[in-house]
């Protein structure tokens, strides 16, 4: 401590303050809204005058039949999405990195980013067609190979996988961009040295490339972990139906059916609050773990 430290550091503080101000006003400001979770909220009465009911909303939630099933679905689908959703872009980025022809590389990069722009409303319709047991391409292909047809969207065993793979397909282009940027940032000098040492491409990948992007992998994985309670409402909503509630109903779709249609803000906010807490705790744990064991500060 001492004035010289402050003298060095004050520009850094000043750089932060504009962003901090905005965040304080527009992100922290609205947080008074969490009070709604404890109220029987009436839009017109507002937060100050709506009735306070304490933990009632939360109790209703915990006692809701099937809440366990729903939480389990959410977590398991999310985790699968996180894992597969990291592997795919990493692999793609690595493969793209091996491509020399710039035009091809750019073309592929652009094309794989495209599914990101399609909404699940559209994709849902397309997928229902694709996976149709009678006319869908996938099933026709299966039949051609000699397998039995599968009604994917109505099958509780398959449905989670449908969710995971279609979501990865839609989003991996986005992550690949980040990984590619990370890859280009790895110093060519390292590769040159490796070549001199006689290392083949595979060895180079293992010893240079992967470690080089490891921090980004950890970063994205951690941030996804914070998102693990979300599991993708958009997608599930457009693909599910009562037949697959058992394996596909997630927290958000349940909340949707329960709360939002009737202006049940209290309940929806309560759920949101819980989800945020879980997500935050997970991120905090990851941060601490990464710091303790790998001496790496994720952020």
């Amino acid at each position: 401590m001492g004035t010289s430290a402050w003298k060095r550091e004050w520009p850094l503080h000043v750089m932060i303050w504009p962003g901090l101000l905005i965040v304080l006003i527009y992100s922290y400001g609205p947080m008074f809204g969490f009070a709604i979770a404890f109220q029987k909220y009436n839009l017109a009465l507002g937060i100050w005058k709506s009735k306070w009911i304490g933990w009632d909303n939360f109790e209703y939630l915990f006692h809701y039949p099937n809440i366990g099933r729903v939480v389990w679905n959410t977590l398991s689908i999310s985790v699968m999405k996180i894992v597969v959703g990291q592997i795919a872009p990493i692999a793609t980025a690595l493969l793209l990195n091996e491509v020399r022809k710039a035009v091809f590389k750019r073309a592929v990069q652009t094309m794989i980013y495209l599914p990101y722009f399609l909404s699940w409303v559209i994709l849902g319709g397309i997928m229902i067609d694709l996976l149709s047991p009678s006319e869908g391409i996938v099933n026709q292909f299966l039949a051609w190979l000699g397998f039995e047809r599968v009604f994917f969207l109505a099958n509780n065993d398959w449905f989670p996988f449908v969710l995971v793979f279609s979501d990865v397909w839609k989003e991996f282009g986005f992550h690949t961009i980040v990984y590619l940027a990370a890859l280009t940032a790895i110093s060519p000098a390292l590769y040159e040295a490796a070549v001199v040492d006689g290392a083949g491409r595979l060895k180079q990948t293992w010893h240079i490339t992967l470690p080089g992007i490891l921090p980004i992998v950890i970063l994205l994985a951690t941030l996804s972990l914070g998102n693990v309670v979300n599991a993708g409402f958009d997608q599930v909503f457009n693909l599910y139906s009562p037949v697959v509630y058992e394996s596909g109903d997630i927290i958000d779709t349940l909340v949707y059916r329960l709360g939002l249609l009737d202006f049940q803000f209290g309940l929806a906010t309560a759920v949101g609050l819980l989800k945020s807490i879980v997500g935050f705790v997970l991120i905090a744990i990851s941060y601490v773990l990464a710091y303790r064991f790998a001496n790496y500060r994720i952020f």
């Binding site: 850094l12 400001g29 491509v99 940027a181 790496y296």
Partner: protein
């Protein structure tokens, strides 16, 4: 690199090209389908007959969308929004990432600040409280409402700070020794060598501001002020009979949902198709980046 690729290597390269090409096509074909629908007649679209090629080719849905003067107006609003939004987003991201990338000993409060920002990634007050705040600060109804509250994107900041960390200390030290302060160092040293991450963040920001439509509809008071995607939302016939009664019986027979929606999607992704190849150039220019371990 290796001078004479082995047979195995050549096989790999060939296979790689094939695989990536197949992957790319897999990703592209739904969009092609959507494109085909947008150029098809409404009855063909409703009957689900459109595959990868338009059926009953017609540019009706596009002209329906583009002929409205409102379309051009909203396009202009979107361009403004993107320019303003991306500019602010990137400026703040850079200004936040630089200090936060410092080590604790160089900047004692960094961890504290970082957690303040990270917290907001998970905790959000909700639409109504946010609206109230935006309204009380006088932004409701102006373009600023779409640009200021979302000005700090913590994900982008974290991405950037990780990259900044990788910049060799020698570069920065040289700058300090030359008498440059933080501000000057940031702009004359750090930013120029960070093109990949800047390009990445710029891309994400552009995509967000171009496609975001919901807040446009909530905060703007008049249809004149809508950005493009918000405007396009109003153009689509909502075949929702559940909560509304009485649709005009003949209106129902008009423009098909799907062809116009398809045109909308296409218009939504168009700028990215144009911008992304341009930005990719920046990904190619690497920076000197050492190990990130502390």
């Amino acid at each position: 690199m290796v001078e004479h690729p082995s047979a195995l290597r050549r096989l790999f390269i060939g296979g790689n090209y094939l695989f990536l090409a197949a992957l790319a096509i897999l990703c592209v074909f739904p969009l092609i389908h959507v494109l085909a629908v947008s150029f098809s007649s409404s009855s063909a679209a409703t009957a689900g007959q459109v595959g990868l090629w338009p059926v009953d080719f017609t540019t009706r849905s596009y002209s329906f969308v583009a002929n409205e003067p409102a379309f051009m107006r909203s396009l202009f609003v979107s361009l403004q929004r993107v320019a303003l939004g991306v500019g602010i987003n990137m400026l703040l991201a850079v200004m936040l990432a630089y200090p936060l990338a410092k080590e604790a000993r160089d900047f004692r409060w960094r961890t504290f600040y970082v957690w303040i920002f990270v917290f907001t990634m998970l905790f959000n007050g909700g639409l109504i409280p946010t609206y109230l705040v935006v309204q009380k600060t006088g932004l409701a109804g102006s373009l600023l409402a779409l640009v200021i509250p979302s000005a700090v994107n913590v994900f982008n900041v974290i991405l950037m700070l990780n990259f900044f960390r990788g910049i060799p200390k020698e570069l920065l030290d040289a700058s300090y020794i030359d008498g440059a302060g933080h501000w000057k160092t940031l702009w004359s040293i750090v930013v120029p060598v960070s093109k990949p991450v800047l390009a990445t963040v710029a891309l994400f920001a552009i995509v967000y501001h171009w496609n975001e439509w919901f807040y446009g509809l909530i905060y703007m008071k008049h249809t004149d002020d809508y950005p493009l995607q918000s405007y396009l939302q109003t153009v689509i016939v909502q075949k929702n009979f559940s909560e509304l009664a009485a649709q005009d019986v003949s209106l129902l027979g008009k423009v098909s949902d799907r062809t116009v929606k398809a045109a909308q999607i296409f218009l939504g992704s168009l700028p990215i198709l144009c911008v992304y190849p341009f930005l990719q150039g920046y990904f190619m220019s690497g920076i000197v980046m050492g190990s990130v371990k502390e």
